[in-house]
């Protein structure tokens, strides 16, 4: 039960970084921390006490009932791929913003108002 609580604390720390920090790169890092928290949550969902790796070592050993959930791990792999692609685009946009505006501070990057 403590693990779920700590996972949510990590999620809220990432959300704090996105909301409060003023540097563009720190916002990207906050988004990455939130992604890690969600991946951790999915892996925690699939865990069973005393279970083993979901890989067959022969045709009958180990029994499928003492394995952890492999579907949750597949979802984590897909989520990691998506997080990678979003982080790429955000980093490239941040570099281009530095070239156009001259600063990373979000208080100065505000040409659109109203």
């Amino acid at each position: 039960m403590v693990e779920y609580f700590l996972c949510m604390v990590l999620f809220c720390l990432g959300l704090y970084a996105i909301l409060i920090k003023r540097n563009l790169i720190k916002i990207i890092i906050g988004l990455a921390i939130m992604e890690y928290a969600m991946n951790l949550f999915f892996i925690l969902l699939g865990y069973k006490k005393g279970a083993t790796v979901p890989i067959f070592s022969s045709l009958t050993e180990p029994h499928p009932e003492v394995m952890v959930d492999p579907v949750a791990q597949a979802m984590v792999v897909a989520n990691v791929v998506i997080g990678l692609a979003v982080t790429f685009i955000l980093v490239i946009i941040a570099i281009l913003i530095y070239e156009k505006y001259g600063t990373f501070d979000i208080r100065d990057v505000n040409k659109l108002k109203g």
């Binding site: 890989i55 067959f56 022969s58 045709l59 792999v77 990691v80 791929v81 790429f88 980093v91 490239i92 570099i95 530095y98 070239e99 156009k100 505006y101 001259g102």
Partner: protein, 146 residues
């Protein structure tokens, strides 16, 4: 980079590449698969670029080859799916013979139908895509402001 880094890189990048390929080809038996193996294969190229500089790294594996590999990986994944489409459903495992439960020998390397082929296609697309973005971030010069 210093001489120590360059000498060690000469030995370790081949080892990383082989480890990545082992991960890919055993994707249907143990942990691994296309995406993780592709990232490790890309890491071996990035290792060379970090140690020796970008001119040496871009001399053999040019940018045209990398862009070709990205497109090839994606199209071959889709083409294998379309071949399955003509034989049943989309992404159907067309090596399957009706009535037999396993495709090939269980736990052998050349078994389980289209899964190793898909792993290789995904590796090609992911490795070249990752390396291409790394090159784009390294080669790009920040121009004048405003």
């Amino acid at each position: 980079m210093t001489v120590i880094v360059k000498t060690v890189t000469r030995y370790t990048d081949v080892l990383i590449l082989m480890f990545g390929m082992y991960f890919i080809f055993n994707g249907h038996l143990t942990h691994g698969g296309g995406f993780v193996g592709g990232i490790i294969v890309a890491l071996s190229f990035i290792h060379v670029m970090l140690a020796f500089g970008k001119e040496v790294a871009l001399k053999r594996v040019t940018e045209r080859i990398i862009k070709l590999c990205v497109g090839l990986g994606a199209i071959s994944f889709l083409l294998i799916g379309i071949i399955g489409f003509t034989k049943g459903a989309f992404l159907y495992n067309f090596f399957r013979k009706p009535g037999v439960d396993y495709i090939g020998e269980p736990f052998s390397l050349f078994s389980s139908g289209i899964m190793p082929l898909m792993n290789v296609a995904i590796c090609l697309a992911v490795a070249s895509g990752f390396y291409a973005i790394f090159i784009a971030l390294v080669v790009y010069k920040i121009g004048k402001r405003r």
